[in-house]
């Protein structure tokens, strides 16, 4: 293919950016479910389809489908008419997701985002926060806490 116009140098790397964002997006739902299942297990010892569906704000067939995918990906296990449980990989992912979520929310609040908004935005943003960025947030939080930021309300 010859593009006599669209190759100002960046056009070559540009697509990669979007592909990466799309990849992150495909993990997003899995992450949400895994985290939610982890929460339910912590609270009740098991995660029932009904509870998952309710908390995720979807109908139960949707939750079932998601769980199937989790099982296929080796993140969860379950038997018919029984609760859903996380595999080791699933539990690990859940923990990572939970920590990332917490860090992001704390960070947003620290830079002046209202707590409620931070919670809402974090839900969507978190899946796109890379390790490098997360580390930057953590560093920022440490410094902010150390220097007791002027207008930080933590």
């Amino acid at each position: 293919m010859q593009q006599d116009r669209a190759d100002e140098g960046e056009a070559t790397v540009e697509p990669e950016r979007f592909n990466q964002a799309r990849a992150a997006q495909s993990m997003a739902v899995l992450e949400d479910y895994v985290e939610m299942i982890g929460d339910l297990i912590s609270e009740f010892g098991e995660a029932r389809i009904t509870d998952i569906a309710q908390r995720m704000g979807v109908t139960h067939p949707t939750a079932t489908k998601a769980v199937s995918r989790l099982k296929r990906e080796g993140l969860a296990v379950s038997r018919p008419y029984r609760g859903v449980f996380l595999t080791e990989a699933g539990a690990e992912l859940a923990e990572r997701v939970r920590m990332r979520h917490r860090t992001l929310v704390d960070f947003l609040v620290a830079v002046g985002v209202p707590a409620e908004t931070a919670e809402l935005d974090a839900e969507g943003m978190e899946h796109h926060v890379s390790d490098a960025t997360l580390r930057a947030f953590e560093t920022y939080l440490e410094r902010a806490r150390a220097s007791d930021g002027p207008d930080f309300q933590d």
Copy 2:
């Protein structure tokens, strides 16, 4: 429905969070395309399907379908075998998206995220940044610039 367990108070609002994230997600692709089309129009005076596809990192039928959706949503116009153009609403959205993207990247860099990473992460994150959060970022940037941040490497 009666759930004797899953109503610790927060279970009622929880789903809303996810619904909102899902809604944002559904706009994400549109936003990307609109911004990209805006870029192409700025550069070449029109946006050709081929160029759009190339920059988005997708095949041309995918780009065509996306443009169809944009047209349906009243964000773009086009005639068969001709370039794609933005409606007023589309141009407005493109501008908003572009500014939000820029603010987010600047902000990330300001808090210590490496420039390249910031660019990559922003691509996914931006679609979930609410106006309130964006304002907080802007405020932060203003202050940081004013006080010439102590340990910020800008």
